[in-house]
């Protein structure tokens, strides 16, 4: 009985494998977890309005997505990589090595990074990059340029206008693209603003060395790396009333009943201040298309055009409603997809 069953299932598997040769008919996407919500909104609307099946969207991070994107050309590789940062030259080189030469870069808009704390917690309402540098740095130069461990333990030690609360910040872990933006646009900026960077350079460090020293985050437990998603940061904030967390604007906007946001450098993070560039901590979001797959995978180009159409990515579209800061140069992007302009 067992042998017949084995034989039958083997046969069935063989038969099934034979039919597997049929072509893939849905677009496959992978990459940044920041872009994932936007991509899934578009994928959903695309499936509803077109005859093509709904694209499959995976997350996993910008780097992981681009790595899979660069694995090669063919049905078993993804068509689009979402990224919360621009593709690096090294990644382009890997791509080219594996035969992925023609890549179309699409900028979909901007994402704001906000600093928020528990709704009923201490009154964190205004921050500056300098304050964050003084709170987060692992070592700071003294007046004579020698490095001393960060002595600050509570926010009002840094600035009397800040509440008397223990420093406890939940920042994105190093695997997140958000961490890079946080370090460059907040910590490094603060390091320059406070003059700490100048003092380090005066004490003999070169510029790169000083930047690295600026961006090294304290590891005494007051800066907590969150490797998961913003939902994890939110859970940590909810259990630590003194905690301040780093969130994406869209996430904050969906949880305004639990979180209150602080201004950065006097500017409140809103879609408007981010699109004008007034609010300092923001970054562009992208997706990358394999040109070789256009035509081979049905609906790929339609999906890309639909993504950046005014109905979707425009200032009144569903993406903006969810928290994406729409790109003022959207029509250029639309043009670019139409003409399939490749990177460089």
């Amino acid at each position: 009985m067992t042998f017949t069953r084995t034989a039958i299932s083997t046969l069935a598997l063989a038969a099934v494998s034979a039919t597997a040769a049929s072509a893939r008919d849905q677009v496959q996407i992978a990459g940044s977890s920041t872009v994932l919500p936007y991509a899934s909104i578009v994928a959903e609307a695309f499936g509803e309005n077109f005859d093509f099946p709904t694209p499959v969207v995976e997350s996993g991070g910008s780097s992981a997505g681009l790595k899979r994107f660069c694995e090669g050309v063919g049905e078993n590789t993804i068509d689009i990589a979402n990224a919360s940062r621009a593709i690096r030259d090294s990644e382009v080189a890997v791509c080219a090595e594996n035969g992925v030469t023609d890549i179309i870069e699409v900028r979909i808009g901007y994402d704001g990074i906000v600093f928020a704390s528990q709704q009923s917690g201490p009154a964190f309402s205004e921050f500056t990059p300098s304050q964050w540098y003084l709170a987060m740095a692992s070592e700071m130069p003294g007046d004579d340029g020698t490095m001393v461990a960060n002595p600050n333990t509570s926010w009002n030690q840094i600035d009397a206008s800040l509440p008397d609360a223990e420093i406890l910040a939940f920042i994105p872990g190093t695997k997140h693209g958000t961490r890079e933006v946080f370090e460059e646009k907040v910590i490094l900026q603060g390091c320059e603003d406070t003059g700490a960077m100048q003092r380090m350079m005066d004490a003999g460090l070169d510029e790169d060395g000083a930047e690295d020293a600026c961006m090294s985050i304290r590891s005494d437990g007051r800066a907590v790396d969150i490797d998961g998603d913003y939902t994890e940061t939110l859970a940590r904030i909810e259990s630590d009333p003194d905690g301040v967390g780093v969130f994406g604007l869209a996430f904050y906007e969906n949880n305004t009943d639990k979180l209150k946001v602080a201004t950065m450098g006097g500017v409140e993070p809103t879609v408007e201040t981010i699109s004008t560039g007034e609010y300092p901590v923001s970054r562009p979001l992208y997706f990358y298309i394999k040109k070789a797959h256009i035509g081979a995978i049905p609906g790929l180009k339609d999906y890309a055009s639909f993504f950046v159409s005014d109905d979707i990515a425009g200032p009144d579209g569903p993406l903006a409603e969810y928290g994406l800061v729409s790109d003022p140069e959207l029509s250029d992007t639309q043009q670019m997809i139409e003409s399939e302009t490749i990177l460089n």
């Binding site: 069953r5 309005n49 078993n76």
Partner: protein, 446 residues
């Protein structure tokens, strides 16, 4: 024992009166019992905490608030040509349907004498974004309805739904940028007019996943189908292969170094972290064999590899527990070795084998890690086709869907995730109960 048989002499104590050493030993035994009981209590307390937290968060996922509205379907907007050809009508996208719903809600409010200060757009936020797609699908399927005013039952948006489940309150709405107290007032008015109802959420079991902006529409349909396909593959492959391997190893294979090596490896494989099987699956099934990503076939094959050792170990144990006298009797009556195994040993070992298989399947059903690498942790909205082709279509699985839900920003997804956990736990419970039932019903003791 020795105490009881030893002669009672001076200094030996008596059976009636405990000496200090006996008292000590008895006390130690008592303590040990207490420790054991405490351990069990801690376990039960943890279980109760887990189950209550999941139930309190998740039971509401099985209920859904809907709103009944009248929608006019004007010909000049939906079908200018007037030919009622769905292909031509498909040119009107969901963006063209949104104003119809907005107007429909306004008209419904007027007809029922409900007054509100909200703008038409804010009022329309009470309705889920999903309903435009729902309306468009319905109209395309029934083109003859154009020109009429039809009643439509639409999903209430996540925040309004949350209001009737206690997740959203007037206080939180004050602070919430996605809902206002006025909108809650309007929802209450609709409820007063018997237009807004909360009912059992069948969609939760049948609907596919939905994007972050429509938690109210998200369901487990694709995940349940995906999990079912994978279990089917695991059952069809792991059971025959596992049983055949065990019979050979247990009944036919010579005892030598080679079979010892195999045995050690099987025990080892059972303890390998499941993500390793995912890496293997990616390398062999996707990159080498060219099977599609995100497909249940690959997930099923990977989980088969993971389940095989469990099934082999369980099967071998139950084959071993069949007493040799059965084999000897069969062989003594002239049966061949194969006849002895298949006619006598295997049927007697069957309950144990099935139990092992079901436990292996339950383990596979709850597995997420290996699926991460083969692209099944994804946003999938299309139902896979029927088997066998459907095995190659993208799908997700129940545990993966839970993981996906927990990552989303809208708090309504917490409820969906807990609801999905309840569904998964129910499946596991049913499978484990079946295993226990089979064991109790058919197991024979010698």
């Amino acid at each position: 024992m020795t105490d009881a048989t030893a002669p009672i002499g001076a200094g030996q104590g008596s059976l009636i009166q405990q000496d200090s050493r006996t008292a000590k030993r008895n006390a130690a035994e008592k303590r040990f019992k207490m420790y054991g009981l405490a351990a069990v209590c801690v376990g039960i307390a943890m279980l109760i905490m887990l189950v209550t937290s999941i139930l309190s968060n998740g039971v509401s996922a099985f209920f859904q608030t809907t709103i009944q509205i009248m929608v006019e379907l004007p010909e000049e907007k939906l079908d200018k040509s007037g030919v009622r050809d769905p292909e031509v009508m498909a040119k009107v996208t969901t963006f063209g349907y949104a104003p119809l719903l907005r107007d429909g809600l306004q008209k419904t409010l007027e007809d029922n004498g409900i007054e509100t200060e909200l703008s038409a757009k804010d009022a329309a936020d009470l309705i889920s974004d999903e309903s435009v797609a729902q309306l468009r699908r319905y109209v395309l399927a029934n083109p003859e309805l154009i020109g009429q005013t039809i009643p439509v039952e639409v999903l209430a948006s996540g925040r309004i739904d949350g209001f009737y489940k206690g997740r959203v309150t007037y206080e939180s709405a004050e602070l919430d940028s996605n809902v206002s107290p006025e909108q809650l007032d309007l929802a209450e008015a609709l409820k007063g007019a018997d237009l807004l109802k909360t009912g059992f959420n069948w969609r939760f079991f049948t609907a596919p996943d939905a994007s972050v902006t429509r938690p109210e529409a998200a369901g487990l349909g694709v995940a349940i189908i995906g999990s079912f396909y994978m279990m089917l593959i695991v059952l069809c492959l792991a059971l025959p292969i596992g049983v055949a391997a065990s019979i050979y190893l247990e009944e036919f294979a010579p005892q030598n170094r080679f079979t010892d090596l195999i045995e050690v490896n099987i025990s080892n494989l059972a303890a390998v972290p499941s993500i390793v099987f995912g890496i293997l699956g990616l390398a062999i099934f996707i990159n080498f064999a060219g099977l599609p990503q995100s497909a249940p076939i690959v997930g099923g094959l990977v989980l088969t590899l993971m389940t095989l050792p469990t099934i082999i170990i369980a099967t071998r144990a139950s084959l071993k527990s069949v007493p040799p006298s059965i084999r000897d009797a069969a062989l003594g009556l002239g049966a061949s070795k194969m006849q002895a195994v298949f006619h006598h040993v295997l049927p007697l070992a069957m309950p144990g084998i099935l139990t092992g298989t079901i436990i292996g399947l339950a383990q596979a059903l709850g597995e997420t890690a290996p699926l991460l690498l083969i692209g099944m942790v994804a946003f999938v909205r299309e139902y896979p086709a029927g088997p066998p082709e459907g095995l190659f279509d993208p799908a997700t699985a129940l545990p993966v869907q839970i993981f996906n839900f927990t990552q989303r920003s809208d708090p309504a997804f917490v409820e969906r995730a807990s609801g999905a956990i309840i569904v998964l736990l129910l499946f596991l419970l049913i499978m484990n109960l079946t295993a226990i039932f089979l064991r109790r019903r058919f197991e024979r003791r010698w």
